[in-house]
């Protein structure tokens, strides 16, 4: 009998209400558990709190109540600096709008986490990983170009490489195909899951498109998770 993979993400009785908001929105997650290596799709209607949930897991936002454990670390109990270091070392983030810096080359964009975090060391191993990721993503010939010279799909591949270059345990993807046509979106999702699987990374991906669900190990409806849809 094979031992089940350990739990990577664990939320317990989490509640989050934006500070300064009108109080109408509150995200409540009684419980959530995702195992290491799992590829999970997160679904939900607009405004239901999918991005907020990703931000809580990434330690960008802090819950008012409850516990969020990622790779065994209680994210909410860390100091700002510790949380930032934890995010750098353990989590890769893919944004819907790519969020590439136009003034940097593709290679520099991918290596951006190393430029902005003194804790990360940009050594030969990292450069080798950059080459591998670029080759696997089919963007090697674009490494010296600026993002504006790339297509939307290529830009999202660059963003994906940036999320994976630090070899994170967890990839959080916030509607990575939202700005792509169907064919490109399919390529990007396949690439993301393939790259993550090849590196043993867990994926939690927000999506509206149910077409991709068969590609994931499982999917979670946020409304079902929070009880809002009940």
């Amino acid at each position: 009998m094979v031992d089940p993979a350990p739990t990577l993400i664990e939320l317990d009785d989490v509640a989050y209400r934006p500070q300064g908001g009108d109080g109408a929105f509150e995200l409540r997650v009684p419980t959530l558990s995702i195992r290491a290596g799992e590829h999970v799709a997160l679904l939900g209607r607009s405004g239901s709190g999918k991005t907020t949930l990703l931000s809580l897991i990434a330690g960008i936002l802090l819950p008012q109540r409850g516990r969020i454990r990622v790779a065994g670390v209680d994210v909410a109990r860390l100091s700002d600096a510790e949380r930032r270091r934890f995010r750098i070392g353990s989590i890769g983030i893919v944004f819907q709008e790519f969020e590439l810096l136009e003034h940097l080359s593709v290679a520099e964009n991918i290596l951006l986490p190393y430029f902005v975090n003194p804790a990360l060391v940009l050594d030969a191993a990292v450069r080798a990983r950059l080459d591998d990721l670029a080759r696997d993503s089919g963007i090697t010939r674009h490494l010296a170009k600026k993002p504006r010279q790339l297509s939307q799909g290529e830009r999202q591949r660059v963003a994906l490489c940036r999320a994976l270059v630090t070899a994170p345990k967890l990839v959080l993807a916030d509607e990575p195909t939202g700005n792509l046509d169907a064919k490109t979106a399919e390529q990007v999702v396949d690439l993301m899951l393939h790259q993550a699987r090849a590196r043993g990374a867990t994926v939690l991906c927000v999506t509206h498109d149910r077409t991709w669900l068969p590609r994931f190990d499982r999917s979670i409806e946020l409304e079902a998770l929070t009880g809002a849809g009940a």
């Binding site: 990434a58 960008i60 600096a81 930032r84 270091r85 995010r87 750098i88 983030i93 944004f95 969020e99 810096l101 136009e102 003034h103 940097l104 520099e108 951006l112 986490p113 190393y114 430029f115 902005v116 975090n117 003194p118 600026k146 940036r162």
Partner: protein
């Protein structure tokens, strides 16, 4: 730090036009105060150095400023004339070395300074070529004069005419260049030096012409005993040559011949004190300490500069506010970029550092540009002004 610098530089290089505008704004604001300060400092130093190298200055009563500016820098209005008798009196005291100065004429726009050969030694001037003047009509030119007029020993230079409407004016004197001074970085570089007697020839106090006894009847107005009055038909020589040098002579009492100043180098402190005391009660001459006069002039200049400095401060404040506005607008535009960096694990302090470096690079480049511009101005201003 290296990475933050790289990111800052990449951003500035990408937004080239915006960066250039910012750099130029900083440079334009900084250029004028830096240049004015540099120029005032340089001019002050040069003026004072020249003044300090002259212990005392004797001149006719009148404007002290005109006297010092004319005698030391060969510029400004020609001061009241001092008679040769005053020079002779001073020289006879045996308390100081006295060097006559007669500066009022010009050649091709450069000051012609009548003096003695002692002047070169007193000023420590070296010769790049040729020798000091020895004869009437010979000239030694400063380094800048030689460079701009393409003169060398053996060349010639015409003195400028005064006013075209002056019917009594003298014809220009053609001077022969016998020496060129080495560059000294002083007003001597832009002057033409002649013997004081040559300057008097330009005044018409001395001249050369055909022998009166050999003059034709229509060149003679009348004759009484051995005195012959020549008419205007007699042609005066416009150049002193070995052939006609003997015909040059001076009319009038040499004691009344004019000088504009006398450079006075007392032999010792006691002599200096005695001379100062003596000329304190003198009515026909004044003895000045050039340093005091120049410091007085610089006092006016520095007072004016204070107004300019106040203006520069206001402009700088306006520029800083403008930069602050640019930074604030930039921060607003780049909020999303900053958020991305934060989400990727960048500390807020690092983001601030990157933005600070961008601003510092712009300000730094602007200041470097302003310094370079100011250096160019300092080099070129003396040629233009």
């Amino acid at each position: 730090m290296k990475s933050a610098l790289l990111l800052a530089w990449r951003y500035l290089a990408h937004h080239r036009a915006r960066t250039i505008l910012l750099v130029l704004a900083v440079a334009a604001t900084a250029l004028l105060p830096i240049a004015v300060n540099a120029l005032v400092s340089q001019y002050s130093a040069e003026l004072l150095a020249r003044a300090r190298s002259t212990s005392l200055l004797l001149g006719a009563p009148g404007s002290r400023y005109d006297l010092v500016l004319n005698a030391l820098y060969f510029t400004g209005r020609v001061p009241n004339r001092l008679s040769m008798a005053e020079y002779a009196t001073l020289a006879a005291t045996d308390q100081a070395r006295a060097i006559p100065i007669y500066a009022g004429h010009h050649a091709k726009g450069f000051a012609v300074v009548g003096t003695g050969v002692d002047y070169f030694e007193m000023r420590g001037l070296a010769f790049a070529a040729g020798t000091p003047f020895a004869e009437l009509g010979e000239a030694v030119v400063g380094a800048r004069v030689a460079r701009e007029l393409g003169l060398a020993p053996g060349g010639h230079l015409l003195s400028d005419q005064g006013s075209l409407y002056d019917l009594t004016m003298r014809y220009p004197l053609r001077m022969r260049v016998v020496g060129v001074l080495a560059q000294s970085g002083t007003p001597d570089d832009g002057a033409v030096f002649v013997d004081v007697k040559t300057a008097w020839i330009m005044d018409g106090l001395g001249h050369g012409h055909v022998d009166a006894k050999a003059a034709t009847p229509n060149e003679v107005l009348g004759a009484k005993n051995d005195r012959i009055a020549l008419s205007a038909a007699v042609v005066e020589y416009q150049e002193v040559t070995p052939d006609n040098v003997d015909s040059f002579h001076f009319h009038g009492d040499p004691d009344t011949f004019p000088l504009t100043a006398v450079l006075v180098e007392p032999y010792d402190a006691r002599a200096q004190t005695l001379l100062k005391g003596r000329y304190r009660v003198e009515k026909d001459a004044q003895l000045l300490v050039p340093t005091e006069v120049i410091e007085e002039i610089l006092g006016f200049v520095l007072r004016l500069k204070r107004f300019f400095d106040a203006n520069a401060v206001l402009v700088s404040v306006a520029t800083v506010l403008f930069l602050a506005l640019v930074v604030l607008l930039s921060l607003r535009l780049r909020q999303r970029e900053a958020e991305t960096l934060f989400k990727l694990g960048c500390a807020r302090a690092t983001i601030a550092k990157i933005l600070g470096l961008e601003l510092s690079i712009c300000v730094g480049l602007g200041l470097v540009l302003a310094l370079a511009g100011a250096a160019l101005l300092v080099v070129w201003a003396p040629r233009v002004v």
